[in-house]
Symmetry: C2
Subunit: 443 residues, 2 copies
């Protein structure tokens, strides 16, 4: 269960403000459920779990095959085809290990265009057995397409054309596009990116599930958590629907000028959950010159970095803090004879308790500094609760976007740099634009 604690926001708003937005939030939630709002072509994720559970067996079997035949899976994708899988995988990864025991290490490509990164990646694959999962709706997005050219060539050199074809899995459109055509020609196994699920909402489609399964994470539990939250958030009362409550709170704060939201983690392996969240909210709400700017920190690390600013810098920030109730493995501080460092007062305390006290201490300090704090409580990090958390954020994002008055399911701004890049690189059809841009650069 995910619950929202908003006690530390109450100093910044009146409770009736929640009621004033309640009907709008309820209406927004209904628009999502009934697929009647802006961007309603992209609402496949709202009731995805049924579909996902159908695919789960096949993907589970593929995960097993990868774990048995590959030390490394190269996951090729960018944006939603990268962040969802990474967020889930790293949430269950020992930070000093490359993979879970008996599972395949997942590494990422096609999410940057740095030559050195790619050279090092190819070197790393030498002598290791690997699979490639290339994830792209069209197959023509520049970053993953470049990466896949190199990886396809390398895989064919290592395993022959037929051998490589058995080790390349394409997650792509059901019928059309470059990657679909290439897959048919080369007999790659393909999995479908549904037409009605956008990249940033796609973690529980094959896009995210294949790398997650290869990494040895229980995808059925993940889907069940997602499903559980899908059911819960059909409720039209914000007191019972955490997605509605979160959407209402952040819109109230935004309307008061709190225009930057900082997602706060105290568990280092949840770092990429925040990265995934930044795409989800940034792409969904950051348009038409509107939207809350999404930012993130890892505490207590960054209390010694951005902490000073959050405490006392320019105001307009609010924080959303993920509080994890329990941790399995844990260590206790022990008494020492000489108490030079003055830590003996912590004798017998678990690090997790100390970490939670730091969380509570920080919430109060930041509230005193003028920073509203929303706390998201989750009991423990498990595949089920991470599934819940993902759906919670997705549903809240849709509601929040409708309250803000944007289409939370498009991303027209992402095309701007692409068009310029094609022009700069001399792509056919962009010649005139290229001239104009080069003239601007030489000015």
């Amino acid at each position: 269960m995910i619950t929202i604690n908003y006690k530390n926001v109450l100093g910044f708003l009146k409770e009736y403000e929640l009621d004033y937005l309640h009907d709008i939030a309820k209406y927004s939630n209904e628009l999502l459920e009934n697929k009647k709002g802006a961007g309603n072509d992209f609402l496949g994720w709202v009731n995805l779990p049924t579909e996902a559970l159908k695919n789960a067996k096949e993907i589970d079997a593929l995960g097993k095959e990868i774990r048995e035949n590959a030390e490394v899976l190269v996951s090729v994708g960018i944006g939603g085809s990268y962040l969802g899988a990474r967020a889930v995988i790293e949430s269950f990864l020992n930070p000093f290990a490359q993979a879970k025991k008996g599972a395949t290490q997942v590494i990422y490509a096609g999410h940057n265009m740095n030559g050195e990164y790619f050279k090092h990646l190819l070197d790393y694959l030498e002598g290791k057995d690997f699979y490639v999962n290339v994830i792209s709706k069209s197959g023509t997005t520049t970053e993953p397409a470049i990466a896949f050219r190199f990886l396809k060539e390398y895989a064919e050199k290592r395993y022959g054309k037929d051998g490589a074809a058995k080790r390349i899995i394409a997650t792509t459109d059901a019928k059309k596009g470059a990657l679909k055509t290439l897959s048919t020609e080369n007999k790659y196994r393909t999995f479908v990116i549904p037409d009605d699920v956008g990249g940033r909402y796609s973690v529980l489609t094959p896009v995210g599930l294949i790398p997650i399964a290869a990494a040895g994470i229980n995808i059925e539990e993940l889907i069940k958590g997602f499903d559980s939250m899908a059911k819960l958030t059909k409720d039209s009362d914000y007191k019972k629907n955490p997605s509605m409550l979160y959407a209402i709170l952040r819109n109230i704060l935004y309307n008061k000028g709190f225009a930057t939201e900082i997602m706060v983690n105290y568990i280092p392996r949840m770092h990429y959950i925040s990265e995934w969240w930044k795409q989800l909210y940034g792409e969904s709400e950051g348009k038409d010159k509107k939207g809350i700017y999404p930012s993130s920190v890892d505490f207590s690390t960054d209390l010694h970095s951005l902490g000073q600013f959050i405490q006392d810098g320019r105001r307009g920030l609010f924080e959303t803090v993920i509080r994890v109730g329990h941790e399995d493995i844990d260590l206790k501080v022990k008494k020492e004879d000489s108490d030079l460092d003055g830590l003996n007062y912590l004798d017998g305390k678990k690090l997790h308790e100390i970490n939670k006290s730091a969380l509570e201490a920080t919430v109060l300090a930041h509230v005193d500094g003028g920073v509203p704090n929303i706390i998201i409580d989750i009991d423990k990090i498990t595949p089920f609760t991470i599934g819940e958390l993902l759906y919670f954020f997705e549903k809240a994002c849709g509601i929040s976007g409708y309250i803000l008055g944007v289409n939370p399911f498009d991303q027209p701004g992402v095309e701007e740099y692409k068009k310029n890049m094609f022009a700069m690189l001399g792509k056919k059809g962009y010649e005139e634009m290229g001239k104009t841009l080069r003239a601007r650069l030489e000015k």
Copy 2:
């Protein structure tokens, strides 16, 4: 050489605005050089290189000793005792390797209080030879002090008390404090954190240099780059002094309402340079309810995440882009018979060129979206240029803080959460405060 290209800011300001701030910037630079301004007890870094070069030989020898005797160095520190070393080390690290060839892997502790992280770290050390470098002025900062209790116990179990003492290096105060006393009692080798250099300006003191040397990076070159920029930025003409120019530009933008600065990298291994920069600027300027909010992205990765927001979300953002001129290792896109992915127009182009075109394309797109772009040009990533870059940012930060009207060398806000935490955890002397806070939490 580092140069600032501000062509893509000119649409947002008039050139005379630079001249209007010139005298103030010049005066601020002189305050730093003459140590007459606010926080002038902490200006040891301004002419640090002479001091740093004196220590370099001893630290180099220690680095060699560590490389010969340890697979792993655990660097224990938080804030400036963590980020500077990590920023430099990762700038030279193959992302798929744990260490440079023949060098020691540096791992980090004492920068969080997550029990699982720590348990995994101790497991990781099993069977590996290691050194510990504990970095703390006082020796009582909670996070590193807790980490060091565990590591000291573990090292003594592994190597015996005397053996451990040879493998523990303390970077701490010259004369006083818990860690200094403990080091004397246990005969640890110690290196000095100068009194006049604050954490976030300490990367070229033993704080940063010891882990950097152990990681196999040429610290003399790093110091020479730092020194070269220290000399260059004595110039009082912003046309010749990039630190002054950067400080002027960002203050002009801030005064117009551009209150969030996004540091942009296109080279993934520079990620932690941005993290270091966020501490430097966030802690220096974020006070008295003032300051530019520092944020960062890795492009092109995050063009498919925060890119939409930057292009078209709520305005008030500006970007500072690090453009690296050359890259040693590189790969070229090759023609393929079937051009399904449509990439053949890139035939023969190096990834680094494509990446730079993406950079230029993005700068123009974001400028068109209303986001001023400052470009910082550096030729290549080498220890020398990274040394230059670090000093460039430090000097600019001092100047910028003075223009803003803050003391760029204190961080009073960081104490707030600490006091609350001591109270919550029941530390002696905080009993009354503890009661009040607990009452607030239970409310």
